[in-house]
Symmetry: C2
Subunit: 470 residues, 2 copies
């Protein structure tokens, strides 16, 4: 359908319905995204105060056939939040809808509005002596609505699942403007099609999430954290299996780190304390979270001993206190920033069936070497099969010199992922960056079904056009 | 759209495409369902051997505008598998598609065809030293495809989630006849709309699941099981919270049992060994599954001591060996059979926000008492907020005397559930039994969206017409 730009007439309708307070001038940040691959344009910026406001905005946009882009914390890495072309959209930022509407500690449920910053939701859960396990690098600025719209992952997926798995119910405005009141606190509810999971991960193309009922967990009574050198990715996988045999679901995080990441930290973030005197080729960050009466340090020591008997591990550092634990996490959490400072030629958020990861890493290195002496920083959530596989220029070179190769490298890496039955979008979403990939690698029957669903729920195509589906 | 009955012409097309082997005579069991609330009719019965066969069958039915009813183990309790009126459908039974296609112990993944019996899938996982946690009373005859189509629950949802949570990927035939090849083994995959969760729980109205990639878990190293008297539902909830504080995710099952269930066992299944000399008003069955190096008996003893200090519990039986464990489970697992033998006036598979369950139980008793001296057997998966709330005739009476009251009792109980923000279909699905309830209690925006999705994917309305959506 032909869409129109968000213009003065729409602005006037919005003011008439919602007053002068909802429309705001468009600041720079609303048209940028972190990796600067896209820059957007915006016709009107609206900051609704309630689901009712969102409903009115969507209805007015629908009446005027104006595209709508939902905007969360703006931290998305695939351009889902910026519309670079087409008629200038109405951007709806959820930033004023930040309330924690309710906490039910006895039920392990919290209800937050979509604009709540993830870290604030974590804090609200902590105040009730509960854990919201969703945890990722952008948690200080990303919003829970965006986390759900993109089905965010992070470091605790291994144990607790991704954003999808942590959501019991949603309130959302559908493309018609109708509000779906689906804030269920129920663990089991088989009444009809799973609209919740359809909206989660749809990246704002099927509606706007305005609030969510989230699953909480007991706070682990004690936490143990270690950084362990492993001889190879195979050894890392074997160590994970051993850890899960010994500690069950107590394994909260299992992050693979390559020497390249440690070297980048030395190069651009030298204040980050390195765990080992010599940077190992591979190491893993393991975290255990255990209930009352368990001693994570002794569990880690026992695990290490068993792993040594299997020749899986080299040197290890077990955090002796919270400060040391923070130091170990700082290594992992600063790698994305180090990557950003170095400047990647091409970044890939991929997942691979876990048992095939070692082979993938070998084959990937061969393929990238075919393009030139690039450096690869391959790291991430090994327990989920999710690697951040990022390709960097040779030492001393700048990524700008390799712009022409970027597309070819990305294509080659993604083709390899596809032959390994993997995914070219593990946790960051499709957005606009990977809409072509979805068409290239997606199952044809699924794509046809997706298009039918999109047309059924959003016949004018006003919701975040160009994201996910081209 | 107007549909046609499955007739000789369709039979001939099927034989032409798939040979003489796929169509079979219609045995009695294909038109019955366990509670005998519905009896179906069938035009043709097809037993496909592969997803390709299913695709051909659906395509031929679509061309002829003939309704299709997918048939699993036939154990569903809401009439989703029987079509009582309208043009006689093509029934597609998955019973010949029983292969375990692959097991990946290192990845904790198993791929099973839809017709595999749940118990056989459990056994295949066990053979690889892994656990498929889906466990429910019908596991000896229900099929994994049906479990997924209805998003089945069972006794381990508290720890491992329901069927939805145990599925990584699907192969399915969509209403167009297209095969969706979505058997992902990935833990993270954000490439497009969540078609998997849309098909799960859609009860065959959006397509036919032909195979599934399922999540496995490590086998718990040791299991501890206890039956504990509690003073009230409130005490049971407090005991659950205490157990989760002390044992974390190690709590695998937490089942509430009412005196009425124990009394029914005495009445109609006297061979089932009762745990207590005097039947308590309320008791719970707790099971812990723990990793290497943990002793569940001592954990249960410590939990019991802590619960005693909080005045939550009375007498308790901790199983000392596997035979005693089986005895305790036999109590829980025979209650549905005892219910069946007694014959309920009305059965309700409901869920309630956990903290409101005690109040619901009190209010429910008052409401049912208003209809007469009925007996209530309220039991089930307390940890999930999922109660089986079944209403029985007074002692000495038969349910047939109360047929006229059934609808009114059901309505009153469901209305109460709705005012408690609960669900009238927790784990059994909607089927045909609760399609009216869905219209009565469902969110209007969600219902509109569901209808739009149904029409988009199945424009002729051939897939299981009358189930879920009227």
């Amino acid at each position: 359908m032909k869409l129109n730009p968000a213009d003065d007439a729409l602005a006037q309708s919005i003011r008439n319905s919602l007053g002068d307070d909802v429309l705001r001038p468009v600041a720079e940040r609303y048209v940028e995204e972190p990796r600067r691959r896209f820059s957007g344009h915006v016709g009107l910026l609206a900051l609704p105060r309630s689901a009712a406001d969102v409903s009115t905005l969507v209805r007015l946009a629908s009446d005027a056939a104006v595209p709508v882009v939902p905007y969360g914390g703006g931290t998305g890495l695939v351009g889902g939040q910026v519309m670079p072309d087409g008629p200038a959209p109405l951007l709806i930022s959820l930033e004023r809808m930040t309330a924690i509407r309710a906490v039910y500690p006895d039920e392990n449920v919290l209800i937050a509005e979509a604009g709540a910053i993830l870290a604030d939701v974590q804090t609200a859960a902590e105040s009730a002596n509960r854990l919201l396990p969703l945890s990722l690098a952008a948690q200080g600025s990303c919003q829970i609505g965006g986390n759900l719209a993109t089905n965010a992952g992070g470091v605790n997926v291994l144990r607790y699942g991704n954003a999808r798995d942590l959501c019991l119910g949603l309130e959302a405005v559908l493309p018609s403007g109708d509000i779906w009141h689906g804030l269920s606190r129920l663990r089991k509810d088989n009444t009809g099609y799973d609209l919740r999971n359809l909206l989660i991960g749809a990246e704002g193309t099927l509606g706007i999430i305005t609030a969510a009922a989230l699953k909480l967990y007991p706070q682990p009574s004690s936490i143990g954290t270690a950084m362990v050198q492993v001889s190879s990715p195979e050894a890392a996988i074997a160590l994970l299996a051993l850890a899960r045999d010994q500690v069950g679901e107590g394994v909260s995080a299992f992050e693979l780190i390559h020497q390249q990441g440690l070297a980048f930290l030395s190069e651009v973030l030298p204040d980050v304390r390195q765990p080992f005197s010599t940077q190992p080729e591979w190491c893993v960050l393991i975290e255990l979270g255990l209930p009352v009466g368990s001693d994570p340090s002794s569990k880690l020591a026992a695990l290490y001993e068993a792993a040594e008997n299997h020749d899986l591990v080299g040197e290890a550092v077990i955090a002796q206190n919270e400060a040391q634990r923070q130091d170990l996490w700082a290594v992992r959490e600063n790698i994305p920033e180090a990557n950003r400072l170095i400047g990647s030629v091409s970044s890939h958020d991929i997942s691979i069936p876990i048992s095939r990861i070692p082979e993938f890493i070998r084959r990937g290195a061969d393929i990238v070497a075919g393009f030139g002496p690039f450096r690869i920083n391959c790291f991430g959530h090994l327990g989920d099969g999710n690697l951040h596989y990022n390709v960097f220029p040779p030492i001393g070179a700048n990524r700008s010199a390799f712009e022409a190769q970027r597309h070819h490298i990305k294509r080659a890496v993604h083709d390899l992922v596809h032959t390994f039955d993997g995914s070219v979008s593990a946790e960051h979403g499709v957005g606009r960056l990977k809409a072509d990939d979805l068409e290239r690698y997606g199952d044809p029957a699924k794509l046809t079904a997706m298009r039918a669903i999109k047309t059924a729920l959003d016949p004018q195509g006003i919701m975040n056009p160009g994201a996910v589906l081209k």
